[in-house]
């Protein structure tokens, strides 16, 4: 079995929001970024994976097991870090271990204390007295102490300073080193994914826009810039999230479309006179892809 996580046609309706037929797979030994703007359905997807919300349709398999029928076995192999602390603030770090460790058959106290030492967390300190970054590290220390095969992070870097974010990404890279463990990493800080993710799943307005390799995702788009004179009706149809300003325009364009444009007659000149070679074309970042596609809600 090569996939740690398989999500098939996952659906859930709320008043005013619908997650529609989301499907993706996460192979063993990789990090997948789950991206999308706020309210796009990332947390809903994660909560459905964790069976914290009841799905309306679809299926979720974790390590080949159904996330509902085999919930207990699944959660033994699953670790989750949310954007904020979920332990009792009045517990000390040591008490947190005592309270939680009993639930996991494979809890490794030695590993937990090694991680505390590495992260610089004082076991005698109360959880509420830890900084946000330290609380996140405590959740990670717990997550890493029972040999979970899949780590799910729901916007863990929001509110963290750049140093803590960098540390987290280093820890995640180490976590998947053995090729047996995987990470699903939901975030809207896509800069983190440029560095860490191997795969991207992009959800917008409750629908799946893309799932696949990160490089494939980034290579699928280009930022196109030009003067206002270049902006013909034909070109407009091909642009995603067009932004105009007094001196010109910028937009996202599918690389495929751009290639087609270049291949069309008269050196890529379209009806109206714009040639692909007249435009400035730059590689797109994940952030730019998300921003431009979110503007139109289309892909």
């Amino acid at each position: 079995m090569d996939n740690v996580l398989e999500v098939r046609n996952l659906s859930k309706s709320f008043p005013g929001f619908q997650l529609k037929d989301v499907s993706f797979t996460l192979p063993k030994g990789y990090i997948m970024g789950l991206i999308g703007p706020n309210g796009s359905g990332k947390t809903t997807t994660i909560k459905l994976i964790l069976n914290m919300l009841r799905r309306d349709g679809g299926a979720v398999k974790i390590l080949g097991m159904d996330n509902i029928a085999d919930e207990k076995a699944v959660k033994e192999e699953l670790a989750v870090v949310f954007d904020s602390n979920y332990f009792c603030g009045d517990w000390t770090v040591a008490q947190t271990e005592t309270a939680v460790s009993g639930f996991y058959k494979k809890w490794n106290a030695e590993r937990f204390h090694q991680l505390l030492k590495r992260f610089g967390i004082d076991p005698a300190k109360k959880v509420k007295d830890l900084s946000r970054g330290m609380q996140m590290k405590l959740m990670l220390a717990c997550a890493f102490s029972y040999g979970a095969k899949l780590l799910i992070l729901d916007e863990p870097t929001s509110g963290l300073d750049p140093v803590s974010r960098d540390e987290l990404l280093t820890v995640l890279s180490e976590y998947i080193e053995d090729g047996e463990r995987s990470v699903l990493f939901s975030t809207h800080i896509t800069g983190d994914l440029e560095r860490a993710a191997d795969y991207i799943t992009y959800i917008n307005c409750g629908s799946l826009f893309f799932t696949g390799g990160k490089d494939e995702f980034v290579d699928s788009f280009r930022i196109v810039k030009g003067g206002l004179n270049d902006l013909t009706g034909e070109l407009r149809k091909r642009l995603i999230g067009l932004r105009t300003h007094p001196t010109g325009f910028e937009a996202l364009m599918r690389t495929e479309e751009l290639e087609n444009l270049r291949r069309t007659g008269r050196g890529g000149r379209m009806a109206g006179g714009t040639a692909a070679d007249d435009l400035t074309v730059e590689p797109a970042t994940i952030d730019e892809i998300v921003v431009f596609t979110s503007k139109t809600g289309t892909f």
Binding site: N51, V74, V80, Y86, F87, C88, G89, Q95
Partner: protein, 215 residues
Amino acid sequence: MNETLKAARLDFFLLRPYWKTICFSIAVPLVYTSVARSLVSGISFAMCMLGIISSYTFAVSEKNGMERLYGVLPVARRHLVFGRYLLIGLMGFLALVFSLISHMAVLRALAETVEVWEIATSAVMGILGYTVYVVFQVPGYYKFGTVGGKMFQFIPVTGYLLTLLLLPRVDPDSPVLAAVLGQPALLIAAVVLLCVLAYLASVGISVRILRNKEI
């Protein structure tokens, strides 16, 4: 059962930072007993206080956003409910035993005579009162939380006030009371049966609520 114990243990850890408040709440009724010189009303007051405390596990987990932790732990939701009832029930039992002993000691120190029927009535009233408080409160907290279900916190106080209102109307020489107390085995069996049935119904409702709850 193992999972239930783990869940009860987790809840115990939730209450651990508040043990001083809990001890204080159980001790306060001693003052009342020393003033009122009535074991029955003192024990009823103590169980009312503990009934109020039964919301603590809900309040603490709600305050800390711990529903996410419960959603992540490898334990079935029904065991979380069983564990919570187990801890609340155990706390009630220990508080009742402590209260009976300490309140009797206070009354003895005040040179008051404590009759056997008073001890039996106090225990029965304490158990029944606490059961009523718990079986109605807990499903309410599961459904609405401690903030949304604030009204459920009034159940123990209402119950206690009703006890105070009705207690003076009970004639200690009543033949009905004499008949009931004259059959202690039957009385204990009836109380136990009533409490078990009430707890079973309450646990069933709470499991159903939590199973359908979206976190």
